[in-house]
């Protein structure tokens, strides 16, 4: 601004010579604008302008970096929360399906029509699973293809189950083959998809938890570079103008430092809160989900072992593997969810009795009665129901805790995400103000 107003009078001050003469003089001026820029940055005021531009730009960049850092951490927290919710949803689908299949396989075991309550449980589980699939597909577009595929396999599964029921209703033994095929289609087609979904979401949650701390890099690096530049500006000014401190620029530096310290502290506190959540509530949620899935898998395998009537050793091996997984996961939540342990231990004891009745004593009918019976406290069905209820309650509590803790951590962040740029601009204005005081002395 100062250039355009002050420079022309210098050029045009001589009295007007013939127009022919002015033309050669004027043309080189206009054809070499770099000359004007060089002139503008020439000498001490020129250097000042350079330092001013550099510092002001740096201050604005700092504002942007601070905003970016906060937005990144905030986003990572938000996404960690969303991905945890998605993971819980996917595991909910898994649990509902294995639970439905446990109902369906039990229909093999007992003659006659399945008990209405068991059928209702099957229908409810399938309905819940299909509701969760829709929710999950809306919540995470990246899961849509896999969930769509899952839906297709479930259509086949449910079709086979209904065909089995229709045949059973007519007293045709072929129904049991349809049920067997249904169970196989769930095991071979649906569950691998769910495993892939769980894996993908676990890794997304991990990535976001890791990313929560990354926001502070923007803030710290941006802040340190800006402080260096401002310090250089102060030092350079002090040297050139023999004044110790340029107050506005010092204020800008203080503003940057303050933002950096306050923001950094807030981010590191949010990061450590998130780390805490990951180590406790999230770990519990994962363990409980895994325990529930493995437990239902074990229960299904108990039925399949009995259905195989003596040639089901492979299923019993699978039971042992699933039960070991439940034990491992429950050990993680031993302190936080003690209510889950008792029914599981009881169930394991009853399972041992069932195996003893079937394999050692050859009392298949008694074994089946203990497996599907509804006597409180003595039959596997009811004890397992207790485990289901207790673990579902604990899972609900821990997954809510994860989401509360993460959203608390997020809401605890100062609003630097949108204040960052204004702070940067204020710092830049302070720098400009401070520098223009000195520049004024050269006018």
């Amino acid at each position: 601004m100062t250039q355009t107003t002050s420079a022309p009078p210098v050029i045009w001050s001589p009295p007007p010579p013939p127009s022919v003469a002015t033309a050669p003089a004027g043309t080189p001026r206009r054809s070499r604008p770099s000359g004007a820029i060089q002139a503008w940055f020439a000498g001490t005021p020129g250097r000042m302008r350079l330092v001013l531009i550099l510092s002001a730009a740096m201050a604005v960049l700092f504002g942007l970096a601070a905003a970016q850092g906060f937005r990144e951490s905030d986003g990572a927290l938000k996404r960690a929360e969303a991905n945890t919710a998605q993971l819980v949803r996917i595991q909910g689908i898994h649990t509902n399906l294995v639970s439905a299949n446990a109902d369906a396989t039990n229909a093999f075991l007992v003659g006659g029509l399945e008990p209405p309550a068991q059928r209702q449980h099957f229908v409810d589980s399938m309905a819940q699973a299909s509701k969760l699939i829709t929710e999950a597909a809306t919540a995470q577009p990246a899961d849509q293809a896999a969930l769509g595929q899952l839906n297709t396999t479930l259509l086949t599964y449910q079709g086979l189950v209904e065909q089995a029921r229709a045949n059973n209703r007519q007293g045709l033994p072929i129904g049991s083959q349809y049920l067997k095929d249904a169970s196989a289609s769930l095991q071979e087609d649906s569950l691998p998809l769910l495993d892939a979904l769980v894996k993908a979401n676990e890794s997304r949650v991990g990535t976001e938890f890791d990313g929560i701390g990354n926001g502070s890099y923007w803030l710290i690096i941006g802040g340190l570079v800006t402080l260096l530049v401002l310090a250089y500006a102060l030092w350079w000014l002090a040297k050139r103008t023999h004044r110790y401190l340029n107050l506005p620029i010092a204020a800008a530096a203080a503003l940057v430092l303050l933002t950096m310290v306050v923001g950094g502290a807030a981010l590191s506190s949010a990061g450590s809160k998130a780390k805490d959540t990951r180590g406790h509530a999230y770990a519990d949620t994962l363990a409980l989900s895994r325990a529930r899935i493995a437990a239902y898998d074990a229960k299904s395998n108990e039925s399949l072992t009995l259905i195989a009537r003596g040639s089901g050793e492979a299923f019993q091996t699978a039971w042992t593997k699933s039960a070991a997984e439940v034990d491992k996961q429950l050990a993680i939540v031993a302190a936080t969810s003690p209510a889950v342990q008792t029914p599981w231990t009881q169930y394991k004891a009853i399972h041992a009795t069932i195996r003893d009745l079937d394999a050692k004593q050859g009392k298949w009918g008694d074994a089946v009665a203990r497996s599907v019976g509804t006597n409180t406290g003595t039959d596997a069905g009811t004890i397992f129901g207790d485990f289901d209820e207790a673990s579902a309650a604990s899972l609900g509590a821990t997954s809510t805790k994860v989401s509360t803790e993460l959203s608390d951590a997020r809401h605890g962040l100062p609003p630097i995400g949108w204040l960052g740029l204004p702070i940067g601009i204020v710092a830049a204005l302070l720098v400009a103000w401070g520098m223009s005081q000195r520049l004024g002395e050269y006018r």
Partner: protein, 321 residues
């Protein structure tokens, strides 16, 4: 002009900065199902030949009463255990199938092992096995006896022992009701026909109808499901099994005239206990003589296959190795 450019550049930079670390995840990979490799069935070793596959071990005198089995005999062992473990089918209607209403496994095969258990004076424990499991469960000793529409042949005699023949079946074929085929030869080449895995039906189908595509399932029920789902055109198997299939599916019919093999059924036992085979042969003689065999036949097969013929005559003469 310049200012606008700078503003636009700054905005672009801002968008670029905020874009990084956003929720653009890679799509969850959909696991690919391993495609089952279709192994063309080996043209096969030639079936073992022997003089008389039907010959079993002759019973050793009159049937001993329960509790009077020779010490150290397999019958004494079973008696001590208190139950006879039999490997059976649970989805071959009228032979061995689970009654959906009662949940019990019942049929002609089951009646045979029931008679054996009764003669032993022990309980009967039924273990459901698939077609290819029939020989392995006998060889590893996890069941005492297999009653699962098993054809007596020389191949199998090399691994297990058979009782005398208790039923003479034959292989027929089942096609959709709408089909006009009078023989499997009427079907176009490459038509898919299902037989149980590891069965003589499979071997016979491959031998007699080379141009058809042989598909296998683990059980008879598995074949019927494939048929109902339209994945195979027809089923080939023992007339007894096919009668049971047709009884469950009004849209299926058995080709009447074409019976392309004889399938003599025997109860399978381990080769290690010839005295038990002799005992079982004694039991079979008894039930054939006292009318229990006939009653059971009429109960399960009369409706589909007509009234009971004379029971197959036992052939003996084999000497324990």
């Amino acid at each position: 002009m310049k200012k606008q450019l700078i503003a636009a550049g700054a905005a672009a930079a801002l968008f670029a900065l905020t874009a990084c670390g956003s929720s653009n995840y890679e799509a969850t990979p959909v696991p690919t199902k391993p495609v089952p490799v279709e192994t063309p069935p080996a043209p096969g070793t030639l079936p073992l030949k022997c003089d008389n596959a039907l010959a079993s071990y002759a019973p050793d005198g009159p049937l001993p009463a329960p509790g009077q089995f020779p010490a150290g005999s397999y019958m004494a062992q079973i008696k001590q255990r208190g139950r006879l473990i039999a490997g059976v089918s649970a989805d071959s209607l009228h032979l061995g199938s689970r009654n959906p209403i009662s949940g019990d496994i019942e049929g002609f095969d089951i009646d045979m092992v029931k008679a054996v258990a009764q003669a032993l004076g022990v309980e009967l424990e039924l273990r459901v096995i698939s077609s290819p499991q029939r020989l392995p469960v006998l060889i590893d000793g996890s069941v005492d006896i297999v009653a699962r529409n098993m054809t007596i042949n020389c191949d199998r005699w090399s691994q297990i022992a058979f009782s005398a023949e208790y039923y003479r079946s034959g292989q027929k074929s089942l096609v959709p009701l709408s089909s006009n085929a009078k023989s499997l030869n009427d079907l176009p080449p490459g038509t898919a026909i299902c037989t149980p895995t590891g069965s003589t039906s499979y071997t016979n189908l491959r031998k007699n109808f080379r141009l058809l595509k042989a598909v296998t399932a683990d059980t008879d029920g598995g074949c019927l499901v494939l048929f109902q789902q339209g994945k195979v055109f027809g089923i080939s198997g023992d007339d007894t099994v096919l009668a049971g299939d047709a009884a469950q599916d009004p849209y299926a019919r058995v080709i009447k005239g074409e019976r392309f093999s004889d399938e003599p059924y025997g109860l399978g036992m381990s080769k290690k206990h010839p005295e038990f085979v002799q005992f079982v042969n004694g039991v079979l003689e008894q039930i054939k003589a006292d009318g229990r065999w006939k009653a059971s036949y009429n109960k399960w097969f009369a409706a589909d296959l007509g009234p009971a013929p004379a029971p197959p005559k036992p052939v003996y003469g084999r000497v324990p190795e």
